[in-house]
Homo-oligomer: 411 residues x 2
């Protein structure tokens, strides 16, 4: 299935919004076995929308159009498409009842503009929106399918995943490419490449392709097979070999996340956890508790940002802070050990560091972080030296702490 | 000057790379006074490049092409453009000497493929690349300018800023557009539109355009003037009127953020702050403390996820939880008031809610959240009913709490 994507919105052209919808659609549809041949972004003007529809390639089988379905005056996609496909608008009772439910659930009154959102072209198939008020639309014309979706990412993704893709798969009998992606933490792309050079050759020898996908703190390794899921077993074997080679860094596959993996380990081992955070200031806790059902193992945290609170809440002796500094191994260990008692948990993890941009010294530069983990069998700690960038330092500390936690739970 | 952007690269189509080049170019060129009428992403195939060049609009005056200029086999843009414009390739001695200097400075050997990068079309103006080895090219044909640039963002940005834009400004006598964007929280797009309908008409009457840019919890309102910064004052006046009309929702302009604005208010008023969080589990704290210098006002937090810790750490009487439930006004108020004392801060904000997907009941459905703010002059609280989606509920709670905090600090 050959696909074109048309994204509508001035905000995309003037660079106010990065077009993440196009990349999400690109990834999702390629994985589903289709080929994206072009993506276009245009302004929310009727003549531009019509011109872009007129310029769709002959060979294109499916056109995905995002944006311009909201309730305000600048949202003209629905009206333009209705005109383009020679269709009239009529109130759709089912859509109306969904919109009414949407507002009543939020205890908010419905406006005239929201009622108008239930007016839909008569000759399209309506794709229900369970996440907002703008329904998706599926038109068929000239041997092509045209799917119009709202531009709000999670609404677009919801309609696409739950309704449009299953319908497309049915229609085109798509044969998916097969991908599997291994996730690593705490090792840079080039070091990883050097470490696994032999393994990489093996991947190529078996006829697969390999991509390194680096982001802050995490490098993903994706193996692709052009033969679909027939190669699943071979690829699994390759990844098993990789797991053995880099156990400290490998943590999961595909959409796995460290909080999820840690959560499962905690549930399996019936352990509870808490955090005592300084430089990460709650981001570690919010990651651990981001998983549905986290209340089974996550108890709570002390965020001890100031010196005073390190002493008054986490019982870190003032003398220890004066002697070693707040960013030091003894303070990190005291935070974790005391937190374990105060929060009454099996495992407590602490972070203390200089996030920056200010606060660094010669011996303790910006980006220095101590992490400690207290368990019933003792306390371990680790020092990391990150960069000069506050946001990145906090994020890297959280990822490193989660990976250390994973390793501690494995042992 | 009307501009089209053509981005070349399979990685854009399959969503492996988000097209930030298009958004950077969009922002930079609109600010420089040109109008982006379309952006296209295509694969690195010769026939696709030629087809996209053939489909450039009649009225387009400048086409910016990024990507496909590297030294590897899949980089075919230069050869395709030379063919398209009927030009031959010749070694350019100045470019060659720059490439040689690039490698000798990095003490790396030059490969045959790097020598080939100095071979450039004879009838283009070369745009020097001070950041890498792929030169930019400036062609003129059919009354249009075609600029080809490497896809590596900082190389593309360097050539564009230092060479292409000055040349374009000279040619087209560009007059910059002027934008200003107001930021609102806590009101949906359609309610906002209804509330400010008269104001919106006034914006149009003055000859400006207005765009609503909604995202989770925040709606941005952008006014654009085609006459450049001459209209700054008029637009400021319009926005002042808007501020007066929606004081509970308007919180800033352009790149302002709620944590930043709150941080500045706290510094100005010499106040300290802490949080007691249940459903947001640290995300509120991490937002407040995300600003450099937050240690001037941010003291710390209690994350009281479990009932036990609500009682043991935040001193919420167990009887209060049993009587009213953990998600209730009395518990939210007790959390904020007790937290204010325990953390020894001027202001304490609490959150307690049912993030979901589990844990909802008929009277307390998923998405119900209580927020309380305790100050020396008393405690206020507010109930919100959000959606069924855990991640979104947490994010919306954080945004709402930050906006309530902003309002409390204003009074």
């Amino acid at each position: 299935m050959k696909v074109e994507i048309i994204s509508i919105g001035d905000e995309l052209l003037i660079g106010q919004t990065v077009n993440t919808n196009a990349s999400w659609l690109g990834e999702t549809l390629s994985k589903a076995g289709s080929e994206i041949i072009k993506t276009v972004a245009i302004s929310d003007k009727k003549e531009e929308i019509i011109s872009s529809l007129n310029h769709v390639y002959e060979e294109t089988e499916c056109v995905i159009i995002t944006g311009g379905l909201g309730p305000t005056k600048d949202d003209i996609t629905k009206y333009t498409l209705a005109e383009y496909f020679g269709s009239t608008l009529e109130n759709d009772p089912h859509t109306l009842s969904k919109i009414e439910a949407f507002f009543s659930q939020r205890k908010r009154p419905m406006l005239a503009s929201n009622y108008k959102q239930a007016e839909l072209p008569t000759d399209c198939t309506i794709l229900e929106n369970d996440y907002g008020t703008a329904a998706g639309m599926w038109f068929e014309k000239n041997n092509k399918i045209y799917i119009s979706l709202p531009g709000v990412p999670y609404e677009m993704q919801g309609i696409m995943t739950e309704q449009a893709i299953p319908k497309l798969k049915e229609r085109f009998k798509l044969k998916s490419m097969y991908y599997k992606t291994a996730l690593t933490q705490g090792i840079g792309e080039s070091f990883l490449a050097e470490k696994i050079a032999k393994w990489e050759n093996q991947v190529y020898k078996e006829g697969f392709s390999l991509a390194y996908l680096p982001s802050s703190g995490i490098v993903k390794l994706r193996i692709t097979s052009a033969h679909g899921s027939d190669d699943t077993e071979k690829i699994n074997d390759l990844f098993k070999a990789l797991e053995m080679q880099i156990p400290n860094h490998f943590f999961g596959y595909d959409r796995d996340t460290l909080p999820q993996i840690i959560g499962q380990q905690l549930i399996d081992k019936k352990l509870t956890i808490g955090t005592v955070e300084s430089c990460t200031a709650g981001m570690l806790a919010s990651q651990i508790s981001s998983i549905p059902g986290a209340s089974a193992y996550y108890e709570g945290a002390l965020l001890t940002y100031s010196y005073n609170i390190k002493s008054s809440l986490a019982n870190v002796p003032e003398s220890l802070i004066i002697e070693h500094g707040a960013v030091s191994e003894p303070v990190a260990k005291a935070m974790a050990e005391n937190g374990r008692k105060i929060l009454d948990v099996d495992i407590c993890i602490s972070t203390t560091g200089i996030a920056g941009p200010g606060g660094g010294t010669e011996t303790k530069p910006v980006g220095m972080v101590w992490i400690a983990i207290a368990t019933k069998s003792g306390t371990t700690s680790k020092m990391m030296q990150f960069s000069k960038h506050r946001e990145r330092n906090i994020k890297m500390t959280v990822l490193t702490a989660l990976n250390l936690l994973r390793l501690a739970l494995n042992n």
